[in-house]
């Protein structure tokens, strides 16, 4: 039964609210703006102590990892709540790469041995993992998330494989202990686990999330899942990633709306708060519409994932496309409402604007996801 036909409704439970409050309080304490600004200038780009507390005391990295693989075994909606809060706080940490994308890639690979081997360390925070899909591209079109587009080669060697080629735009490439690489064998695209490869940071627009280049030159790797069988599980993992990223975007969008409204209430021009002018009011009302719709879209995808619905792909693409543009628009409007102060380096508005821009492209642009949506709906 599709979600459209279901009459079920969704709402957050008190447990969801508790989780949200707990994560929000933790991030307010451990990832205030000053920390974000400090970490975004460091090479590692995250605070290992905070990372360890997140895993050991709060269980965040293992939230979506089943208990048999050392995780908490919570629902995906719980993971989205965490991502939403992280997006709100602009947390600098390899969470999306390790706890979402790499975790999802292992889980969808259906390779129990690989899950047993890697997931416990990822869940307890001792292993940082990332997913390497995108490449510079053959015809100048960089950054494709489609398995069939990969060119990195995997050649059998003894019990394992050796990888050759280059991945770019890899999240947290420099700090990752484990890289799950989509590479091609004669059988087609497969998923491989590697710990080596030469890493180099890429200078990113959004300094709060690191990306890098990984060069493989006969690098040792182990097959995860079926040789040549990565396309479908990768697509499923990317749907999970898109739904999580959409929640992060919804969180960021809500935060910039709050910033704009707070400022509009206190900033006075021509003798009255700028928020009393309709031009500002109408901007804020439109932002609210986008923020609420983003929340609905992101969590609809999340609930579909938790329900094992047949609409996961449709809703994940819908959410990623919508939340990307909504966040971008809200982040831009936040700068506009702030006027000159919003254009300064010292004001956090640009940090959100850059995160919005970067996440809009990450995992596929809105245009890409709308095309996927069309295909998934059969038109």
């Amino acid at each position: 039964m599709t979600t459209a036909e279901r009459t079920g409704t969704f709402a957050f439970t008190p447990e969801h609210d508790d989780l949200r409050a707990m994560v929000r309080a933790f991030l307010a304490d451990r990832s205030p703006e000053a920390e974000v600004r400090r970490l975004m200038e460091t090479p590692a780009g995250y605070d290992p102590t905070v990372w360890s507390v997140m895993a050991q005391q709060l269980g965040l990295q293992g939230l979506f990892v089943p208990e048999r693989f050392g995780g908490v075994g919570a629902g995906f909606v719980e993971l989205q709540i965490v991502c939403e809060e992280m997006g709100r706080a602009l947390l600098c940490a390899p969470f999306l790469s390790s706890a979402v994308l790499a975790t999802a890639a292992l889980l969808t690979s259906d390779d129990a041995a690989a899950c047993e081997r890697y997931l416990p360390g990822m869940a307890d925070g001792s292993t940082i993992a990332t997913l390497a899909v995108t490449e510079a591209g053959r015809s100048g079109y960089a950054g494709s998330w489609v398995a069939d587009d990969v060119t990195v080669q995997a050649v059998p060697d003894g019990d394992g494989y050796r990888l050759t080629g280059e991945k770019v735009f890899v999240l947290d490439a420099v700090v990752a202990d484990l890289v799950l690489v989509v590479a091609r064998t004669e059988a087609g695209p497969g998923l491989f686990a590697a710990t080596g490869g030469e890493r180099a940071a890429m200078t990113t627009l959004d300094a709060t999330r690191q990306q890098g280049r990984i060069t493989f030159d006969g690098t040792e790797a182990a097959l995860v899942g079926i040789d040549g069988g990565a396309a479908a599980p990768l697509a499923a993992a990317l749907d999970i990633g898109a739904a999580a990223l959409a929640a992060e975007q919804a969180g960021g969008a809500r935060r910039v709306l709050e910033m704009a409204v707070e400022y509009a209430k206190v900033r006075e021009q021509f003798g009255r708060p700028i928020g009393s002018y309709q031009a500002i009011k109408h901007k804020c009302a439109d932002m609210l519409l986008e923020v609420e719709s983003s929340t609905s879209a992101a969590y609809a995808a999340g609930w579909a994932i938790d329900d094992g619905s047949d609409e996961i792909g449709v809703l994940a693409s819908l959410a990623k496309a919508y939340c990307s543009e909504a966040y971008h628009h809200c982040a831009a409007e936040n700068i506009q409402v702030h006027g000159g102060i919003g254009f300064t380096w010292e004001h956090p508005a640009h940090l959100y604007f850059k995160r919005a821009t970067s996440t809009e492209i990450l995992l596929g642009s809105p245009r890409h996801h709308r095309e996927l949506l069309a295909q998934r709906l059969g038109f």
Binding site: T7, E292, A297, Y322, R370
Partner: protein
């Protein structure tokens, strides 16, 4: 609690047996709709949110959604009454038992059609500025003035009227709610031809029209609050249903694009994917409101944006349809795909009626986001 599947099966069976077929156009339309409404009413399939005592079904909200969904899926005729909306709930909530006894059943059966006498030439968005005067004269009110944009006035037997009983300055505190007999001496209805060419609305003039005091709803001078009630979850369940209906309309539009050979155009595909998204978001937002309400939480800000969102969506949908019609968009509404041209014209009102989009944005900014008012009282 009644089981959803059983309920849905019963309703489906009823509709399959009694569906009157497509609604005719022209003079036979209204009798056709009234006959259908009487069939539904006599079988107990109307007013899902109303108490049983007054002819309703008294369904819990989740079954109200099922009810609306099944009617939508069966493509049943649109009810000719506005019993569900403002008029019915006003009498249910604020009427006396004698008034409920007298008015509700004929209203539900569409034996007596009602209209709403709210807007005036000088009171559109600013409804509390209305001037139509009702003077208490012994056991009756004498009504003089003019209403405009009154839907169904030409066929309505009764009007739910808001009239000025206090001073103009008293604004919303000096308004009384009356039930006015449209056949009473002194009532003149002049059809108001709108931009679609139709005359769905009318102007209604009152020249010393007598209304017995027992036809007053609620107390003297307290009509403003009376006529602003909605019933239980009726609004959120019916909005959710209309969002589901829009998904069907979007599918029809995709079919139109297919028939006209436009589905291979990337720009068309993107736009259709946006409309799919818009229709789903209306539904998802509606479900979130309902979910919150069902858990005993306040409906929250998401409920306030739905009308704004509906209006914008309807317009965009029909603008896209017009581009798909191509040169046929220059033709009148009597062409093969004329429904889209009619809708294109009709939906200009979607951002005007029952509060313009601008008023809604201002209200959202002030009531939900807490931005300061411009000083003028607005209600």
């Amino acid at each position: 609690m009644l089981d959803e599947a059983t309920f849905s099966a019963e309703l489906r069976a009823f509709l399959a047996e009694h569906h009157p077929g497509p609604t005719p156009r022209g003079p036979t339309k209204l009798p056709f709709l009234r006959a259908w409404q009487a069939t539904l009413t006599d079988a107990g399939w109307v007013a899902p949110a109303w108490p049983r005592r007054w002819g309703g079904m008294e369904l819990p909200p989740h079954l109200q959604v099922v009810y609306h969904r099944e009617l939508m899926l069966a493509r049943t005729p649109v009810p000719p009454t506005n019993a569900v909306g403002i008029v019915g709930p006003t009498i249910l909530t604020n009427g006396t038992d004698a008034q409920r006894e007298r008015y509700l059943r004929p209203m539900l059966r569409a034996d007596e059609l009602w209209c709403q006498g709210f807007s005036e030439p000088e009171a559109g968005s600013d409804l509390a500025a209305l001037r139509t005067r009702a003077v208490l004269d012994g056991d009756r009110y004498r009504v003089t003035g003019r209403k405009v944009w009154t839907s169904n006035a030409a066929v309505a037997r009764r009007m739910l009227l808001l009239a000025r009983t206090g001073t103009l300055e008293s604004r919303s505190r000096g308004i009384t709610c009356l039930v006015l007999d449209m056949h009473a001496p002194g009532v003149t209805v002049t059809p108001l031809r709108d931009m679609t060419g139709g005359a769905f609305f009318a102007e209604v003039a009152f020249d010393d029209v007598e209304v017995p005091v027992e036809d007053r709803i609620g107390a003297h001078d307290e009509g403003w609050g009376c006529a602003r009630v909605t019933l239980g979850h009726e609004r959120s369940t019916s909005l959710t249903a209309s969002a589901v209906r829009y998904q069907r309309v979007v599918r029809d539009l995709i079919d139109l694009a297919r028939e006209r050979g436009r589905l291979s155009s990337p720009a068309t595909r993107q736009e259709l994917a946006r409309l799919v998204t818009g229709a789903r978001l209306l539904e998802l937002n509606g479900r979130r409101v309902l979910g919150q309400v069902l858990q005993g939480q306040a409906p929250g800000p998401v409920s306030s944006i739905s009308r704004l969102q509906h209006g914008a969506f309807e317009q965009r949908l029909h603008e896209t349809a017009m581009t798909l019609l191509g040169a046929d968009g220059m033709l009148g509404a009597d062409q093969r795909d004329g429904r889209w041209v009619r809708g294109f014209l009709r939906t200009r009102a979607s951002t005007i009626g029952a509060g313009t989009a601008e008023i809604q944005r201002t209200t959202i900014a002030e009531k939900v986001l807490g931005l300061p008012s411009e000083g003028e009282e607005r209600q």
